[in-house]
Amino acid sequence: MKKIEAIIRPERLQEVQDSLDELGVSGLTVTDVVGCGRQKGYTEQYRGTSANISLLPKIKVESVVPDGISEQAIEAIVSGAYTGEVGDGRVFVYGVEQAIRIRTGETGEDTVRHEMAEGWGH
């Protein structure tokens, strides 16, 4: 299993979700973060004083996927997150040693394989 961790623009989340959905990725976890990289922040003026804002809001999307579809998942994320402007973000990939589904106690790749959702409306 691989954990794919993507830092993306907040406004691209929906697209990334959609492309992962299409691929049949079984689940993902999203965190609000701030970051800097090539894109370096900006300056606001307030009451004649200037404020430097050095960290910009980003979204971190994490999904643990079976080894087999990790390449496709990365592509899906990149295609969803891409705008071509500085600040589009990064994807990092890590090895996962074990995965457990709390509800069932299942372990291993099965827990992160695609399944039919229980249904909207919960």
Binding site: L13, T43, S50, I53, P57
Partner: protein, 459 residues
């Protein structure tokens, strides 16, 4: 538009009418105070429902009090209830004898008394926050404003048995408005039980602080301001400048309440608790409400201070037993009782005579008589309202239900009862509410861009 030339008496009556309407507007404004107090003392997930509740209650009270409440409360001098004036069908002064001492026009008096009824109803809900079903508000509001409040207020304000036969003193309603409201609140609370998580497994209370002390504080200041209409307006007249004196007594009482509560809060917990400070204002105001037209300035100091001390001790004591998120039992109930009894201690004989109700208090006359009357009044009002309210809430509980389900309480009343949070951006992804930084380098920075670009290039 008028047949006859107005006379001096018309002018005097118009002045009274004007004051009563303005005071009524101030009392209506207190709804904003209660709204903010309850919002501030709720968690974020239950803040929106308060808005719908306050508006719905006010509306129900308006219609019911107009239809029957006012008639029951003031329409004649029956010992139990009045009868004249349903739907404000008459505006003869004589039809409302208990208020005949004032020359203000009857519609102004109705307007003022309606605002009072709505305040008393608003007080009921302080104990029920964050778990009651919305429909329970609506049902009880109808009964309260058509029946419970009008009848009991008739006894003390409207010429009923406590006022006419015993001379019970309650200038602006420590009992009539505040204790009645708090008694309804107690009945509701006993049938509702505490919020989930309020008491640990071992029965010790947990802290569930409200989400916004600033909104709470604004509410308190609005209530304070509204109280000038409440107490000083209860003169129903501007004669002799008495209403200004009542306003001063009110400020002094409130100030005493604050200092009493802060001192007590500090001595018990080494901090000036913000909520307790707010409760101190309310308690001081509630305490001085009954005596405000009966006492000299100096007496407002001890009345206020004792109210402030009582409210803090009472909240801490009650906190271990039941779950009253806003402290309504203490601020309106305990302080309301104290304020009513305080007349029996502090009423100045000259003012009892001026108002033509009751006698001077213990400290002037050495007699316990007025104090006894006050105690009787408090007891009668408490027992009657408690019995009636308990019955109504019990009926609601056994039919419609009083409390939302366990899961719904966890999710919060806003989303469960109203389909949307009061603060949506705190709970759900609202389209476009994700944050967007500026995109074009240097676009906004203007003259500042240069040195900063330089800095960035170094870094």
């Amino acid at each position: 538009m008028q047949g006859m030339e107005p006379t001096l008496n018309d002018a005097l009556s118009r002045i009274d009418t004007l004051w009563v309407v303005v005071a009524g507007v101030l009392v209506f404004f207190m709804q904003a105070g209660f709204l903010l107090l309850e919002v501030g003392f709720s968690r974020m997930k239950n803040a929106g429902t308060v808005v719908a509740k306050v508006i719905a209650n006010l509306s129900i009270a308006a219609l019911c009090y107009w239809a029957v409440g006012f008639a029951l409360a003031f329409g004649g001098t029956g010992w139990f209830a009045g009868t004249e004036g349903t739907f404000l069908g008459t505006i003869e002064q004589g039809a409302f004898p208990a208020m005949e001492f004032s020359t203000a026009a009857v519609p102004a008096k109705f307007f003022f008394q309606l605002a009072f009824c709505a305040v008393s109803l608003a007080i009921v809900w302080g104990t029920t926050l964050e778990r009651i079903k919305f429909g329970a508000y609506l049902i009880y509001a109808v009964v309260f404003s058509s029946l419970i409040y009008p009848v009991i207020s008739h006894w003390i304000f409207g010429g009923g048995w406590l006022q006419a036969s015993f001379g019970m003193q309650d200038f602006a309603g420590s009992t009539v408005i505040h204790l009645i409201g708090a008694t309804g609140a107690l009945a509701a609370l006993l049938l509702l039980g505490p919020r989930q998580g309020k008491f640990g497994k071992d029965g010790t209370p947990n802290v569930i602080p409200g989400h916004s002390m600033p909104l709470m504080g604004l509410g308190v200041v609005i209530l304070f301001v509204g109280w000038f209409g409440f107490n000083a307006g209860s003169t129903l007249s501007v004669a002799d400048g008495r209403f200004a004196e009542v306003a001063i007594v009110t400020v002094i009482g409130a100030a005493g309440g604050v200092l009493g509560a802060m001192a007590m809060s500090y001595s018990l917990t080494r901090t000036f608790d913000i909520g307790m400070t707010g409760n101190g204002v309310i308690a001081g105001l509630v305490g001085i409400t009954a005596p405000s037209g009966y006492v000299e300035y100096w007496a407002a100091v001890p009345i206020g201070v004792v109210a402030g001390v009582l409210v803090v001790r009472s909240i801490i004591a009650i906190e271990r037993l039941v779950d009253d998120p806003i402290g309504a039992l203490s601020a309106h109930g305990v302080a309301g009782v104290w304020g009513t009894l305080a007349c029996g201690l502090f009423t100045a004989p000259r003012l009892a005579e001026y108002n033509a109700i009751g006698e001077g208090g213990l400290f002037y006359t050495g007699s316990f008589e007025q104090l006894g009357v006050q105690a009787l009044g408090v007891t009668a009002a408490f027992l009657s309202v408690f019995a009636l309210s308990l019955a109504v809430f019990y009926l609601i509980k056994s039919t419609y239900g009083l409390r939302v389900g366990v899961d719904d309480e966890r999710r919060g009343l806003d989303i469960v009862e109203h389909g949307m949070w009061g603060y949506p951006e705190q709970f759900m992804p609202v389209p476009g509410s994700e944050y967007h930084p500026p995109n074009t380098p240097g676009a906004r920075a203007g003259a500042l861009a240069l040195p900063l670009t330089a800095r960035a290039q170094e870094g």
